[in-house]
């Protein structure tokens, strides 16, 4: 066969496959936007639901999701970043560190509903936190730990070894070296991983199902030991459990959740871009 023609066919097939990946994403976005945009208003975003959730807003669910994400981040970021620092900078390559690394990989592969069950067993029942923001945040936090540890490790490992050698050879201690010559250069990468974890925590339904999410609450949560409504679960409830919810409210809720996650991912991308632009080694 003609070489030129062969090449053109190959390119066309590759291009079509790539296009095919984009199509479902676009369709989802368009459908949700078209069906849900009419529900969006300030009232929808900032008011309590009324008339059996068929009218009013979804404010408690938005607020609940923000609380849960914040809680998960407060728990998972320090734990994840500090353990990543240990793994990259301090641990020698031995059986223990290999087991820890293997555990992290496995943690990333656990289905989210299993995290929900785990959270129910540990936080809700055993530790007696009940179904609460605390239990839900901790469960989500454990779920996003692998993302944060892995991205932090990659960020730390990408800092050139010469920075450490130079710092140590000037008489800085190991901790000073990490604090002043490694962490500042790894921070943008760590932040990117954090934001990706944040997006995942915001969107997951299963882990909060057993640990925190409420079907409907007439008032906002008052403390971390209260239950809360949350966007993903609220979406599930109004889509399958309650009859007579207007279609645009359902899609409007999905749109709000989607936008929340997309904004977080976009922030991660912008941050990474800024970082790459500044990087000079």
């Amino acid at each position: 066969m003609n070489v030129q023609l062969e090449q053109k066919i190959a390119f066309s097939i590759l291009f079509l496959c790539t296009l095919l990946v984009v199509v479902p994403v676009l369709i989802i976005l368009v459908i949700i936007f078209v069906k849900g945009a009419s529900a969006l208003s300030l009232n929808f975003l900032f008011e309590m639901p009324t008339s059996g959730m068929t009218a009013g807003g979804i404010f408690p669910a938005i607020l609940g999701t923000l609380y849960l994400v914040l809680g998960a981040i407060l728990f998972a970021v320090p734990l994840g970043v500090l353990s990543a620092i240990y793994l990259v900078e301090y641990s020698r390559d031995n059986a223990l560190s290999r087991i820890v690394k293997l555990a992290i990989v496995n943690l990333a592969g656990v289905p989210s509903v299993v995290y929900g069950l785990f959270g129910l067993g540990i936080f809700v029942l055993f530790l007696g936190f009940g179904a609460s923001i605390l239990s839900g945040s901790l469960t989500l936090g454990i779920m996003i730990l692998p993302v944060i540890i892995t991205s932090s490790r990659e960020a730390l490992e990408s800092v050139p070894q010469s920075f450490r050698i130079v710092s140590l050879s000037l008489g800085a201690s190991k901790w000073q070296t990490i604090r002043h010559s490694v962490l500042p250069h790894a921070l943008p990468g760590i932040l990117t991983g954090t934001i990706l974890g944040l997006g995942r925590a915001a969107g997951e339904t299963a882990p909060i199902l057993f640990t925190v999410a409420a079907f409907y609450l007439p008032k906002l949560p008052q403390s971390v030991f209260d239950q809360t409504m949350a966007l993903p679960y609220h979406l599930y409830v109004i889509s399958t459990q309650v009859p007579g919810i207007p279609e645009n409210v359902r899609y409007g809720t999905a749109l709000v959740l989607l936008m929340l996650v997309l904004i977080l991912n976009l922030a991660a991308i912008i941050l990474r871009y800024q970082f790459r632009k500044r990087k000079k080694w």
Binding site: V166, L170, G171, S173, K280
Partner: protein, 253 residues
């Protein structure tokens, strides 16, 4: 004229292994204060391993094993805490490694780690270091621009200035000019000659002519063993060992 020679570093029966590989065998030598002690030898002769033992950078390598003693000013360096040892015995690497900071912050890095926070004091230290490394006139107007923008020769002098800022006693140069053009090389060599008035200098070089130009005494290492050590002039005019003669006249290596 009688010169008094004070021993700064005394290396006694030093043997170094990295895993199964022997890098240095039973090395014995003394390095005097305020001299340029030059170490020559082909690749893998243990020159760099020796330097990195003197400030214990080798400790970072898990496979590193050492026997014998290194004594500085009468004290075993293993008894000193490693941070103050590295502050006293500093190293300039073959490649300049500027930190991704401004020129100013690169040089202030060491002093800051050793607890100097006072801004005016830091400014003084930075200027002094840059002047001593003959870089001041070239960079004084752009101290707050990234050090990575400097040329290779300037970066190497920046690294020297950065070391001077922590006020070391011994400065080790590990093939400092291997990546530099002849003019930058001449500058760095000139810097070394001036610095030896106040510091003890150990120079490892692949460039035999450089050893002849700047060294006070020269040691020839081969396969981890000390073949010959003598006044540089003596070594280069009438080496006692044939292997030394072959190496410096370019017959091997």
């Amino acid at each position: 004229m009688v010169e008094t020679k004070m021993t700064k570093i005394s290396i006694q029966d030093l043997t170094i292994h990295f895993g199964n590989v022997t890098a240095l065998k039973n090395l014995n030598l003394d390095i005097y204060s305020n001299e340029i002690f030059t170490i020559i030898g082909p690749a893998n002769s243990g020159k760099s391993s020796l330097l990195q033992s003197l400030n214990r950078l080798n400790d970072l390598n898990a496979a590193y094993r050492k026997s014998g003693k290194i004594v500085m000013d009468g004290k075993d360096i293993d008894d000193l805490d490693v941070e103050s040892l590295r502050k006293r015995v500093s190293i300039v690497f073959a490649l300049p490694f500027p930190l991704p900071l401004s020129i100013f912050d690169n040089i202030a890095y060491g002093p800051r780690m050793h607890g100097i926070k006072n801004k005016t004091k830091l400014i003084k230290i930075v200027e002094k270091g840059l002047r001593e490394a003959y870089l001041w006139d070239e960079v004084k107007d752009r101290l707050h621009t990234p050090a990575m923008n400097l040329s290779g020769g300037q970066q190497q002098r920046l690294c020297i200035a950065r070391i001077l800022a922590v006020e070391p006693e011994v400065i080790m140069f590990d093939e400092p000019t291997s990546g530099l053009d002849p003019i930058s090389t001449a500058r760095v060599e000139e810097t070394m000659r001036v610095l030896k008035e106040r510091y003890t200098i150990i120079l490892v070089t692949n460039n035999v002519a450089q050893a002849a130009r700047v060294g006070d005494r020269t040691a020839f290492l081969l396969m981890g063993e000390l073949v010959e050590l003598d006044e540089t002039k003596q070594l280069f005019t009438s080496a006692r060992d044939k292997r030394t003669d072959d190496y410096i006249t370019g017959k091997f290596g």
